[in-house]
Symmetry: C2
Subunit: 290 residues, 2 copies
């Protein structure tokens, strides 16, 4: 019987110990910079992207280790986007998951540069993948760029204090969060030497699961209590953010969430090997309470 | 008879028209982001790094076009470092080469993200090189990272208001500026399918020429007039920066400059083809007045 919590905890431990080995030690010159990179990298993330990357490699019949480099790369890339998002000129956040943000501990300049260095490290790691390294670098660069996660971030900033707009919401969801999740899954398939059919399955699965994850986030922000969520709620409405709830309403967002999970599960048929982790992850997205 | 000014002007025109073709149009969504990227990319740089990259490909007998992708990549990477250096939390500069800096025109958040996107674009372009793309991506990632240009930038910040320190100066010169110049030259050799001997020559040439370029900069900052330089002079001394002049003195810095140019010229013997542009560039570094 597959147990998702055990799988997630084990996956997080795996990628954390590998990152600890792959990222320059905190004493490496300049020590402040490497300490700042490690501060954010080891600040208690869920490691969803590297776990998805590894799970897609496993769904192609490869061992988890085949996806090590892209998994480490996507976590470095994701972490850099969080460091830059938290900066005073962006969201100006002091805490993330209860831990002081990078610039609160190391100052703005070092935090900016720690983010920059983590992006470079992501490409350095991706380029070390034993199989399909060049294709993996290309996936990562496209997802990370101005038509990927950075583009989504810009549209998200523009969307604050604007009337709800379904088209902008789709753009933000697809690029700000979706692109890195799709990229994580596609890199896992490529690192496993998977078929074109598996690559297609990973794309459809990740696009649906990634959007589901965000719709669930929007629903939780609108409906959960702060105690359930461990962070402030109702903040999207207060900031007049364009979200699934502001665009589709509560009932519409719930229906959209269920449809997306069904879509993600349907895509799994095109993987040749064990898809239990990917199926459980998609279901978990819809059911989580925090 | 080789004419350096014609070669430089022609090289700058070449890379600018190629970048214009390779970088998403300013109208591409998000339009603000792409406009900000283009603002800094087309703000009148000397294009030294892409010209060196192409000249090293030519010194291996390849046409300039062989080095197109790494040349475009290194200019995108260099431009992102300038955008981030100019931000208020770093040097807080309003102007660069007489043009308003990215954050003065587009705001801090968009400038930050334009820099981030230019770094991703650099890797996207490098990964498109027809020959040795993976090796080229690896060169770029190492040079761009925490043990490369970003590490040099951090040490440079730490070095302000500190007593002159020859060891720190060497670290800053090597990493903050040297690594990208070495990377540009090595990528040019790799894109041309050059030999290991040519790769070694490019490394020695670029390390010496890159340091010479910085010593010359330090000398100009200490000795030129503002009218000659077109920007403020004496700023290093005012900020108590660690420079070649503060560490070696004026006469010592001048001697170091001459030694470095001789070193760069000596390295050229190991290239199989035309090294006239590389030789003229190294001599030009020592003689320039602005």
């Amino acid at each position: 019987m597959f147990d998702l919590q055990t799988y997630l905890a084990d996956g997080a431990r795996w990628i954390e110990s590998e990152l600890d080995r792959l990222v320059p030690a905190a004493a490496t010159r300049p020590a402040d910079l490497h300490a700042a990179m490690r501060h954010s990298l080891f600040a208690g993330g869920k490691r969803l992207r590297p776990i998805l990357c590894a799970a897609c490699a496993e769904a192609c019949g490869a061992p988890r280790a085949a996806a090590l480099f892209p998994a480490a790369a996507i976590e470095c890339l994701h972490t850099y986007t969080l460091i830059h998002d938290d900066l005073p000129c962006m969201d100006d956040d002091d805490l993330r998951r209860g831990v002081p943000t990078c610039h609160k501990v190391y100052g703005e300049a070092t935090a900016l540069l720690a983010g920059d260095a983590l992006q470079a490290l992501a490409f350095e790691l991706a380029a070390q993948t034993p199989v399909a390294a060049l294709e993996i670098v290309r996936e990562l660069a496209t997802a990370a760029g101005s038509r990927g996660v950075v583009g989504g971030q810009v549209e998200d900033m523009l969307g604050e204090h604007q009337p709800p707009d379904a088209e902008r919401l789709r753009f933000i969801q697809q690029h700000k969060t979706g692109d890195l999740i799709v990229c994580a899954c596609r890199m896992g398939v490529r690192a496993a030497g998977g078929s074109a059919a598996a690559l297609g399955a990973a794309t459809r699965y990740a696009a649906a699961a990634g959007e589901a994850f965000q719709v669930a986030d929007d629903l939780l922000n609108a409906t959960a209590t702060a105690a359930q969520l461990g962070k402030a709620v109702g903040t999207d409405a207060a900031r007049e953010k364009t979200t699934a709830v502001s665009v589709h309403g509560l009932a519409g967002a719930k229906k959209r969430l269920n449809d997306l999970v069904a879509e993600a599960l349907a895509a799994l048929a095109d993987f040749p090997d064990d898809v239990a982790p990917l199926a459980a992850l998609a279901r978990h997205v819809a059911e989580r309470k925090n």
